[in-house]
Amino acid sequence: MSRARLKRFSPCQLSASAIPGQRILALTNMITTQQPLIYNVWERLIAPHPSITDIEQRRQSRLLSVMMLTLTTLVGLTGLRQLYVNTMYADTDWVAVFLAFTAVFLAVPIYWLNHSGHYKIGARAFTALAFVLIASYSVFDTFGAFFGSLIVLFSAIFLTYTETQVVVGLVLGIHALWAFPHNHLTAFFFNVYIAVLILLFVRFRTRLEQERQQQLRDTNDKLRASEGALQQINVTLEEKVKARTLELEHAKEEAERASHVKSAFLASMSHELRTPLNAIINFTKFVANGDLGEINKDQAETLTEVVSSGKHLLNLINDVLDMSKIEAGSLNLFIEENVDLQAILTSVESMSKSLLADKPVELKVETDETLPRIRADRQRIFQVLLNIMSNACKFTSNGSIWLRAIHTDNEILLSVQDTGPGIAPDDQSLVFEAFKQTETGLRQGGGTGLGMPISRSLVEAHGGRLWLTSEPGKGTTFFVALPIKSMQLVPMFDNMERVA
């Protein structure tokens, strides 16, 4: 019966059960669980001492305890029977009675020795006791053969192989001393035969055990060796990881330093180029406007060319700087929450109208009634849309341009459709490559060839997509899909006023 079941009916639980029927049931169970209690007592009596750790010896110790206890009981009972026979029939075997009580008397200390952890001494004492008792009682008759075998068997069970050999020698020697003079050779040889068999068996078992242990040791050694190798690999790996991490940290620092130097260089270049452009563009404008005195029409036109070249140079500077930043991976977006796309579209629309001037092109804006505010860099989104729109205005000589904005739950889709010349399929990918203008673009002039690649990078930096569809001769549509609340963008200011 299991211990778990025993525990389930603890006294505490017994008193806790309020229903009488259940209480009776619990009591019944308590009674049936008395049996394991006896079992437990028995278990405790024969349990080997905790100091014995070897599995085989624990088994032997248990067995010895069992034998000592049963011997005490059985031999004791036999002795009592002899006494009883004595009173009834008066033919007492006094030797038997004496030996029986000696056995009981000696079995108890052997049990105690074994039970308190001195198994080896106990086992030897038991074998010696058995030897003395049996030898003194019955070696000297026909049955001596069986009893001699019994001693050998005991020593085979409880003692080592060498000790068993000694016991066999003693038993056979003493038996021989009696058997040869009395011509009881059959019994003697029977005893020899059994003893040899037992020795062979023990030898066989010992060898088997040795081989098994050797096998275990070998396996253990192999395991330890591979464990060592693994540890070595681990250590090497750790060292490699450390070295690599250090290398990477250095590389990162180096890259950061390089990026910082590059940013500083770009900033200073921007500053240095813009400052003279301020003079070039504005002084030329004053002269061209006639603010500094009358000039003729040709002079005015030429000076206007200077101004637009200056502006082109400014655009080029901006674009080259943007492109360098994108390529250096140092383009920082200035993200705001709640960017009003409608306001951006309105500015784009009004600027596009001035770009179209008096061309016969109709500009139509179609947007959802309410557009959600988005998390974005206002300036950059404006830059992207203006870039797409100014391309459409530039390449469309007549017809219409549609600026559309629709939204889904998490995305805004902007599109600019024109009735321009369209882009040949082969050229469509060139549009997004730096410094690659299409034939039409080159003929039209004015662009830097960087606007679209920059726009695409900017949109992608927002977690969005920029693409086009086009049919040569019919027109082109550019699409910009922007996430409404992109998780990859971290807002820097909230509703910072910044009018483009």
């Binding site: 940013s263 770009l266 900033a267 921007s270 500053h271 240095e272 180029l273 813009r274 400052t275 003279p276 452009l277 301020n278 003079a279 070039i280 563009i281 504005n282 002084f283 404008k285 004053f286 603010d291 500094l292 200056g310 400014l314 700087l321 383009l331 920082n332 977006l333 200035f334 300036q379 820097m492 200011f493 910072m496 006023e497 910044r498 009018v499 483009a500």
Partner: protein, 135 residues
């Protein structure tokens, strides 16, 4: 609304000074303006101005006091605490504009100065609007 702009401009580059001067004089027909060639004894000189400027344009890379330092000086005196201060600079990379915004400038006009929109921007700034015009 007919508040006349009284402009103070601090700029160490002579050509940029001349652009501003021509812009104010020739384009906007204004005569009430002051231009500092450097930022030495800045606060002292600003406070001695009469009439007091109601718009301040600052270049950023000026010596001995940078645009940021001048802004701080102006904000430290009661009389200039609420006067619009605008950065007029060629350093208009995103990071630089961000620094201007966090420093507390009321706006920024980039160089080259866009003359076409300048008068309108002046008006808006005088009205208390912020103008970040970076081209």
């Amino acid at each position: 609304m007919t508040v006349q702009p009284i402009v103070l401009y601090v700029e160490d580059d002579p050509r940029s000074r001349k652009v501003m001067e021509m812009c104010l004089k020739l384009k906007m027909r204004l005569s009430n303006f002051t231009i500092f060639e450097d930022s030495s004894r800045f606060l002292e000189r600003v406070q001695s101005l009469d009439p007091r400027p109601n718009l301040v344009f600052l270049d950023i890379h000026v010596k001995p006091n940078s645009g940021f330092q001048m802004l701080e000086m102006l904000r430290s005196v009661e009389t200039f605490k609420h006067v619009p201060v605008i950065a007029l600079t060629a350093s208009v990379m995103n990071e630089e504009v961000h620094m201007l915004q966090t420093a507390g400038f009321d706006g920024c006009l980039s160089k080259p100065l866009d003359m076409e929109t300048f008068p309108d921007n002046l008006k808006r700034l005088l009205n208390g609007e912020h103008v970040w015009r970076i081209i």
